[in-house]
C-alpha cells in the first residue's frame, strides 16, 4: 500500500480534528468559568459548528490514510447534514440548559460535538473497521446524552435501554463484519466487492455464510436506524431522553446508520444484487424490513398520546421511506436517500425545536396539551404545522419532494427486469403515507380546531427562533427550488460505481 504523507491525511480530516478540539474547548470553558456562564457555552458550541462547516467547505475532496478515509461527495453531503443537525439540536437546547442541566452544560454540548465527530468520521470511512469505529464513536456519547437527566427515571431508563440495545447491536454487527472478512480476506470495501465477485464466479454459490453476514449486518444497522423488528428502543428513548437529544438522535444517528448501510450494502455488497443471485440478495430482506417499518411506524404512531413517542414512531416510518430509496440500489435511489435526509432534517429538527420550547414552557409532551395553541401562539403553530405537513409529504414543501424522489427511484428500478417486487415496497409506502397524514394532522387539529384558548403562551428564545427559522427556510426553499441540492445529491453516488443512468 502506498504510504500517504501525514500532512495530506490530516488536512482531509481537518473538520473532524477541529470539532474534536472544539468539544474539549467547550468542556474546558465551562469548567474554567466555574459553570457560571449560562448561555455562552451554547453559543460557543454553535460557533464551533459553524467554523467546522467553513473548514469543511475549504477541505475539498480527496483520500487520506491510504484508502481508509476518503472525502467523496457523499461524505461531504452527509457531513453537512450532521453539522446542520448538531447546530439545530444545540440551538434548541438553550431552554433546557438554563433550567435543568445547570451543572453539566459543557459536557452536554461537548458530548453532542463528540458524537458529531464520530458521525463525520463515519461518513468518510471507506473500510469496514473504520465504519464500525465511526458508528461506535457516534453512539457512545449518545448513550450518555440519553441518560442526561440523572434524577429522572424515564431518562435513565432510556439511556440504559439505548446502551444495552446499542452495545448488543454493535456486537452483532461486528460479528457480521468478521464473516465478511473471513470470506473475502479484506476490510476494504472495493476490494471486498471484487473478491466477492471472484468467489461467486468461481464457485457459483457462496452459501450460508454470506446470508448469515447479511442478516447480522441488517440487524446491526437496523438497530441503529430503528427498523422493525429492532425498533423497540426508539419510542422509549425518544420519550425519556432530553428532547433536543431525541431530535439529534432522529437525524444524526439515523443519517450515520444510513451512511453505513449505503457503504456496506449498496457499495460493498452490490455485487450481490442481481437476479441470478436471488437467494443471497440483500435487497429483498431490506425491503421486507422497510415495509415493516412503514406499516408499524405509521400505524402505531396513530395511537400515541405523547408527542415525543409519536415523533419516535414517525421516525421509524421515515426510516422506512428512506430505505425505499436504498433498496432501489441505484444512483437515483442513493441521491434520493441523501435528499430525503436533508429535507427530513429541516422539518424534524424544526418540529423538535417547537416541541422542546413547548416542553420547557409547560413541562408537558402530551399532544392534548397543544389544544388551542394556535390562538395564543399563532406563529409557533404555523411553523409547527408547516413542519408536520412537510413530514407528511405535502407539496410544495421539501418533505414532499423527498418522498417523491425515493418513490421515483424505486419505481424506476421496478420497471426494470427482476425489480417488480419493489412495487410492493412502494405500495406499502403510499398507503401508509395516508396514515401518516392522520397522526400529523392530529397535532394540527389540536392546535387549530379547539374552540378554547390554550392556557399557555409559548415564545421562542433567540437560538431556538434561529433553529425554527432555518427549518422553515429549508422546508420552503428546498421545496420550491431544490435544484442546487439535487445537483449535489446527484453526485453522492459518484464513488459507488453505478453505471450512469
Amino acid at each position: 500500500m502506498e504510504v500517504q504523507l501525514p500532512e495530506v491525511s490530516l488536512r482531509m480530516m481537518a473538520p473532524e480534528l477541529f470539532l474534536f478540539v472544539w468539544a474539549l474547548v467547550v468542556i474546558t470553558f465551562d469548567v474554567v468559568t466555574k459553570r457560571a456562564q449560562g448561555e455562552s457555552v451554547g453559543y460557543l458550541t454553535m460557533v464551533g459548528i459553524a467554523i467546522t462547516g467553513g473548514i469543511l467547505a475549504i477541505t475539498g475532496e480527496g483520500p487520506g490514510f491510504g484508502n481508509m478515509f476518503y472525502n467523496d461527495p457523499m461524505a461531504i453531503f452527509f457531513k453537512i447534514i450532521f453539522l446542520g443537525a448538531a447546530f439545530m439540536a444545540v440551538g434548541s437546547s438553550f431552554g433546557l440548559t438554563k433550567q435543568k442541566i445547570v451543572n453539566h452544560r459543557g459536557e452536554f454540548f461537548g458530548l453532542m460535538l463528540l458524537s458529531t465527530v464520530g458521525m463525520m468520521f463515519l461518513a468518510s470511512a471507506n473500510e469496514l473497521l473504520t465504519i464500525w469505529i465511526g458508528l461506535e464513536l457516534t453512539t457512545i456519547p449518545l448513550f450518555v446524552l440519553a441518560a442526561f437527566f440523572k434524577d429522572n427515571k424515564l431518562s435513565v431508563e432510556s439511556g440504559l435501554k439505548y446502551f444495552i440495545v446499542g452495545a448488543f447491536s454493535s456486537a452483532v454487527m461486528v460479528y457480521g463484519l468478521s464473516f465478511l472478512y473471513g470470506l473475502t480476506g479484506t476490510t476494504d470495501l472495493l476490494q471486498m466487492k471484487l473478491n466477492l465477485a471472484t468467489v461467486h464466479l468461481t464457485f457459483r454459490n457462496i452459501g450460508v455464510i454470506l446470508i448469515a453476514a447479511i442478516t447480522m449486518l441488517i440487524a446491526g444497522i437496523g438497530f441503529k436506524l430503528g427498523l422493525p423488528p429492532f425498533h423497540q428502543w426508539v419510542p422509549d428513548v425518544y420519550e425519556g431522553a432530553p428532547t433536543p437529544v431525541a431530535a439529534f438522535l432522529s437525524i444524526g444517528s439515523k443519517a450515520a446508520g444510513l451512511a453505513a448501510f449505503a457503504k456496506i450494502f449498496v457499495n460493498g455488497l452490490s455485487a450481490f444484487h442481481g437476479v441470478e443471485m436471488a437467494p443471497n440478495d440483500w435487497g429483498k430482506l431490506a425491503g421486507i424490513v422497510a415495509i415493516a417499518a412503514l406499516i408499524l411506524g405509521n400505524t402505531v404512531a396513530i395511537r400515541q398520546t405523547n408527542i415525543k413517542r409519536m415523533l419516535g414512531y414517525s421516525s421509524i416510518a421515515q426510516a422506512g421511506y428512506i430505505m425505499i430509496g436504498m433498496v432501489a440500489q441505484s444512483a437515483l435511489g442513493l441521491s434520493a436517500v441523501a435528499f430525503y435526509i436533508f429535507a427530513y432534517m429541516f422539518a424534524n429538527m424544526g418540529a423538535f425545536a417547537v416541541v422542546t420550547a413547548f416542553e420547557d414552557k409547560t413541562g408537558s409532551c402530551e399532544i392534548k396539551s397543544y389544544a388551542g395553541l394556535a390562538k395564543t401562539s399563532p406563529m409557533l403553530s404555523i411553523c409547527m404545522t408547516i413542519f408536520l405537513l412537510s413530514l407528511a409529504g405535502i407539496p410544495p414543501l421539501a418533505g414532499f419532494l423527498a418522498k417523491y424522489f425515493v418513490f421515483a427511484a424505486a419505481i424506476k428500478q421496478a420497471s426494470l427486469e427482476g425489480g417488480q417486487w419493489l412495487y410492493w415496497v412502494v405500495g406499502a409506502g403510499l398507503i401508509t403515507a395516508v396514515f401518516s397524514l392522520y397522526y400529523y394532522a392530529n397535532v394540527i387539529k389540536q392546535m387549530y380546531f379547539s374552540k378554547d384558548d390554550s392556557p399557555y403562551r409559548v415564545g421562542l428564545q433567540a437560538p431556538a427562533m434561529l433553529v425554527v427559522l432555518i427549518g422553515l427556510a429549508g422546508v420552503l426553499v428546498f421545496g420550491l427550488y431544490p435544484e442546487p441540492v439535487l445537483r449535489f445529491a446527484g453526485e453522492v453516488p459518484s464513488m459507488f460505481g453505478f453505471v450512469s443512468p
Partner: protein
C-alpha cells in the same frame, strides 16, 4: 409580457396572502376588505384573460414554459384552452362571492379564514392552468390544506371528522396518481431519453393496453374520489354539511370540477384505449350516481345535505357526458361543470343566508318563508329551477346535450339518466314547497328579515349567469368546442375507435376477426357500416 398573464392570475392571491399577513389580526374590516379587493382583482385578471382568449384558435394559449427542476425534467409550464378558461373564470367569480358571503358569518380567526380562501384560490387556478404533471400534482395537493382548515376550524359540530375524512380520501387518491405520474415519466425517459412531465409530450407517447389500463385506473381513482363518483362519494356529504358556506361554495363549485377536469385533461387523451375499454363501467357508475344521488337527496332532512347529494347526482351527469365520447356529450359535460358550479354554488349561498338567520338547516324547522322573505324566495326559485334544468336556465343546456350524447351511446344510459332529471325536479321542488310555502308554523320564522343589499349583490351575478347561459350559451360553446374536439381527436388515436372528421363521432372499429371487442357499447348501425365502406 402578456404571456405571463397566467402567472399573475395564479399567484395574485398569494400576493394577497402576504399583504394580509401584514395586517394586525384585530382589524377585521381591513382584512375583509383587503381580501375582497384581492379576489376582485383576480377576477378582473381572469376577465382580461377571457377577453384576450382567441376562441377560434385550437390548442393551448398564453403558454409559459420555463425549466423549474431541470435535472428531473420538471418545468413551469402553464397554458389554457377553452375548458380551463371557463373553469378559471368560474373559480374567480365564486371566490369573490364566497368572500362576500362570509362577511358577517365568520367572526373568529378572521385572518386565517381569508388567508385559507386565497391560498385555495391559487391552488384551484393552478390546477386549471398547469400543463406539467408535476405542477398539476403540486397544485392539486396544495388545495388540500386550506380546505382542511376551512372545514376543520370554521365548520359545524362534526367538523373534525369531516375534515380528516376529506383529507384522507383525497390523499389516498392522489398518492395513486403520483405513482402513475412517475411511471409515465420513466416510460417517457426510456423512450425519449429525457425526463419530462409535460402533459402534451406525454400524451403523444404510445402505451400498451395493459399499461394504459393500470395508469387509467390509478388516475381515474384519484379523480373519481374528487368528482365524487359513486361509490367513492361518502366524504362529500360530510364535508359539505360541516363546511362553512364559503367552503361549501368553493367545494361544490370548483373542487369537484377538478376531478372531471382531470379526466378530460389527462385520462381521456393519455389513455384512449383504456378509456374506450373502461367506458361502460364508468357510464354505469355515473348512471348509478345520478339515480342514487337523487333518491338519497329526496329523503334528506337537512337542506345542505340535500344539496350535497344533489351534487353527487349532477356530477354523475358530468361524468356520463364525458364518457359518451361524442361531441354533444362532451360539450354538454363541460357546460354542466360550469352550470353546476353556478347553480349549486348559488344554492349553498342561499342556504348559508338562511342559516345565518336561523342557525338551523332542517327543512322541518321552516315553512312559509316566502311570506316573510319574498326576495329570498324569488332568488331561491330561480336557482332551484336552474338546478332542475328548466329550459332558458343554464342547467337545461348542459343536461340536454349530455342526455343527447347518452342516448347516442346507449339508449339505456339515456333512459336511466333522464329519470335523474325527473327525480331532481321532485326533490328540489318538494324541498322548496316545504321550506317556502304554507303557513308560518314556527314562530321563530315570523320575524326573519329579507335579504340585505350585500346578499342581493351576491345573488345578482349568479342569476344573470343562469339566464345568460340559458338563453345565449353560444360564446361559451365557441370556446369549449375547439378544446373538446382536440380531446376527441386524441381519444381517436385508440385503435379500436375511429373519428368522423365532420361530425366528430367516435365509432367502434371491428378488429381483424370481425368481432366487436366490447359488446356493451353499441353504436348506431348505419355509422358502423359507413366506416367499413
Amino acid at each position: 409580457m402578456i404571456g405571463d398573464i397566467l402567472t399573475y392570475l395564479t399567484f395574485f392571491p398569494v400576493l394577497g396572502v402576504v399583504l394580509l399577513l401584514l395586517v394586525p389580526k384585530e382589524r377585521h374590516d381591513s382584512i375583509k376588505s383587503l381580501s375582497l379587493i384581492i379576489a376582485f382583482v383576480t377576477m378582473l385578471i381572469s376577465f382580461l384573460v377571457y377577453a384576450l382568449f382567441d376562441p377560434l384558435a385550437s390548442g393551448m394559449q398564453f403558454e409559459v414554459n420555463v425549466p423549474w427542476v431541470n435535472s428531473v425534467g420538471i418545468s413551469y409550464h402553464l397554458g389554457i384552452d377553452g375548458i380551463s378558461l371557463l373553469l378559471i373564470v368560474l373559480t374567480t367569480i365564486l371566490t369573490v362571492l364566497a368572500i362576500l358571503s362570509s362577511w358577517n358569518s365568520i367572526k373568529t380567526g378572521v385572518k386565517g379564514f381569508y388567508i385559507s380562501i386565497l391560498l385555495l384560490t391559487t391552488g384551484m387556478i393552478g390546477v386549471f392552468v398547469s400543463l406539467d404533471l408535476f405542477l398539476f400534482y403540486v397544485f392539486w395537493e396544495v388545495m388540500l390544506i386550506p380546505m382542511y382548515f376551512l372545514i376543520g376550524v370554521w365548520g359545524g359540530p362534526r367538523r373534525v371528522y369531516a375534515a380528516i375524512k376529506f383529507v384522507l380520501f383525497t390523499m389516498f387518491g392522489s398518492l395513486l396518481m403520483l405513482v402513475a405520474v412517475l411511471y409515465l415519466v420513466f416510460k417517457y425517459h426510456s423512450m425519449a431519453g429525457v425526463y419530462s412531465f409535460d402533459i402534451q409530450a406525454l400524451v403523444s407517447m404510445p402505451l400498451s393496453f395493459s399499461e394504459q389500463a393500470y395508469l387509467f385506473a390509478a388516475f381515474a381513482l384519484a379523480f373519481a374520489i374528487k368528482v365524487p363518483l359513486w361509490p367513492l362519494h361518502t366524504w362529500l356529504p360530510d364535508a359539505h354539511v360541516e363546511a362553512p358556506t364559503a367552503g361549501s361554495v368553493i367545494l361544490a363549485g370548483v373542487l369537484l370540477k377538478m376531478g372531471t377536469y382531470g379526466f378530460i385533461r389527462i385520462c381521456l387523451p393519455m389513455f384512449p384505449e383504456a378509456t374506450v375499454a373502461f367506458l361502460p363501467y364508468i357510464c354505469v357508475l355515473s348512471v348509478i350516481a345520478i339515480v342514487y344521488g337523487a333518491l338519497v337527496a329526496m329523503v334528506q332532512k337537512d337542506v345542505k345535505s340535500l344539496v350535497a347529494f344533489s351534487s353527487v347526482s349532477h356530477m354523475g351527469f358530468v361524468m356520463l357526458g364525458l364518457f359518451t365520447l361524442n361531441l354533444q356529450g362532451l360539450e354538454g359535460s363541460v357546460m354542466q361543470m360550469i352550470n353546476h358550479g353556478i347553480s349549486t354554488g348559488a344554492l349553498f349561498l342561499l342556504v348559508g343566508m338562511i342559516y345565518d338567520r336561523r342557525h338551523t338547516r332542517l327543512i322541518s324547522e321552516f315553512g312559509g318563508i316566502a311570506k316573510v322573505m319574498p326576495a329570498f324566495a324569488t332568488y331561491f326559485m330561480i336557482v332551484t329551477l336552474s338546478s332542475i334544468g328548466l329550459p332558458f336556465t343554464n342547467g337545461f343546456v348542459g343536461e340536454f346535450l349530455i342526455l343527447l350524447g347518452a342516448f347516442q351511446l346507449n339508449t339505456w344510459y339515456g333512459v336511466f339518466a333522464v329519470t335523474g332529471v325527473i327525480f331532481s325536479a321532485c326533490y328540489m321542488l318538494w324541498m322548496y314547497q316545504r321550506v317556502m310555502y304554507g303557513k308560518v308554523t314556527n314562530p321563530e320564522n315570523e320575524k326573519l328579515t329579507d335579504m340585505s343589499a350585500r346578499e342581493r349583490i351576491i345573488m345578482i351575478p349568479l342569476v344573470f349567469l343562469i339566464f345568460w347561459i340559458g338563453v345565449y350559451p353560444k360564446p361559451l360553446f365557441d370556446r369549449i368546442e375547439p378544446a373538446v374536439k382536440n380531446v376527441l381527436e386524441q381519444v381517436s388515436r385508440a385503435k379500436s375507435v375511429q373519428l368522423d372528421p365532420v361530425t366528430y363521432e367516435l365509432t367502434r372499429v371491428k378488429d381483424e376477426k370481425g368481432t366487436v371487442t366490447d359488446a356493451t357499447v353499441t353504436f348506431a348501425p348505419e355509422q358502423e357500416e359507413a366506416t367499413h365502406e
